[in-house]
Amino acid sequence: MTHALIEITLSFLAICFLTAVFAGFFGGLFGIGGGAIIVPFLTVFMGVPIHQAIAISLVSVIATSNAGGSSYLEQKITNIKLAMYLEVATTAGALVGSVVALLLRSWVLFTIFGLLLSYVAIANFKSRSMDERRIAKNEFDNAKQDRISKYLGLKGSYFDAAQRKQVDYRVNGAAKGAVISSFAGVTSGLLGVGGGIIKVAAMNLFMNVPLKGAVATSKFMIGVTAAVGALIFFVTGLVNVYVLAPIALGTTLGATLGTSIMNRLHSYVLKVAFGFLVTYLAYTMFVQALASFGIMMPMLG
């Protein structure tokens, strides 16, 4: 067990806090936990050992999910039943993830996630105007449901503030969505993230959920997914509370800001911005895969 030599000063707290506000803000906009920003920040810049960074990140994902999740519940965009259904897959995945982590070589994992994220990035760019077009034509509401979605009554509606339109939708592809979401859970335990990127993509690209509904529902879900890993790390005693406190406070504030403006932005703006973020994250995955072979690539700009 490594003990980090991190000196806690006011400036240390301030840097952690401000970075967390930034991560929380984008996490709020895109329905993700921001762990993908927090973990590299802590390990590369702050010298926190990787296991501690993952543990801190997992608990901060819960903080951002509390703040952002409650905001979207208040705005009535979250689909609670859909969240509950997918949570079975993500929590099971998170549990399996901690076991798989011990069996697979890290470069294999990084390569898999890198490929997965590359796909999500490309899909976001390609589908950037899909949502608004389909909302205008009410296509989300006219979809044919699969048996599971129909049986569980998975559908939803919310008001899109940018398009000024009530959006109704019927979920389909429930089985496919659950399988993809279980991968989101696997990434959670392994990388210290909430798996929001994969959840949003699963709902929006495969389950006929409009982007904003997917963002709000993912924001609500990530806290429970991260709780699985957080519990394991917490009981193991790896959560460094001195570093966690400013990060959790920062992501809480950031998520509150991000979720308060998300609905006013157009879906294509969100998708393109999200696409760029995911492209960068895919790159960091490949960088880490190559690093296992001693090939060093520049990271974080």
Binding site: S70, L95, A227, V228, G229, V241, Y242, A245
Partner: protein, 120 residues
């Protein structure tokens, strides 16, 4: 019908506000108790008794630990509460769905506990 949206909202907001207040209080205590810069080491307790004693003595580390426990407890509470709300609304399908999530959370707690024992 119990209002699921409202119940979930209340749990998350209470979790957010109480953990934030406890963290801010803990950080203030930390600077009062440590005038000189200190290393951020992992906080470990050998017994529940030790934790309670530190808490009563208002040690910053113990207070920050409480904030963390509140945070981790929030999503677990909201899953547990959703089982109750679905049960109150006689929604059998979703009692099974949310009950399964609750079960997985309990398994991970047990797993973490034994893993902890195995590494000492």
């Amino acid at each position: 019908m119990a209002d699921l949206n409202r119940a979930m909202y209340v749990v998350l907001v209470v979790g957010m506000i109480s953990s934030s207040v406890v963290y801010i209080f803990g950080l203030i205590l930390f600077f009062l108790q440590n005038p000189n810069p200190m290393q951020a080491t992992l906080v470990r307790y050998t017994s529940m008794n030790e934790f309670v004693q530190q808490l009563v003595a208002l040690r910053a580390s113990a207070i920050l630990m409480v904030g963390t426990i509140v945070l981790i407890a929030t999503p677990i509470t909201r899953v547990f509460l959703s089982v109750l709300v679905f049960a109150a609304n006689h929604d059998r399908k979703f009692v099974i769905v949310t009950g399964s999530v609750m079960l997985i959370l309990i398994v991970s707690l047990i797993l973490g506990y034994f893993w902890n024992l195995s590494i000492g």
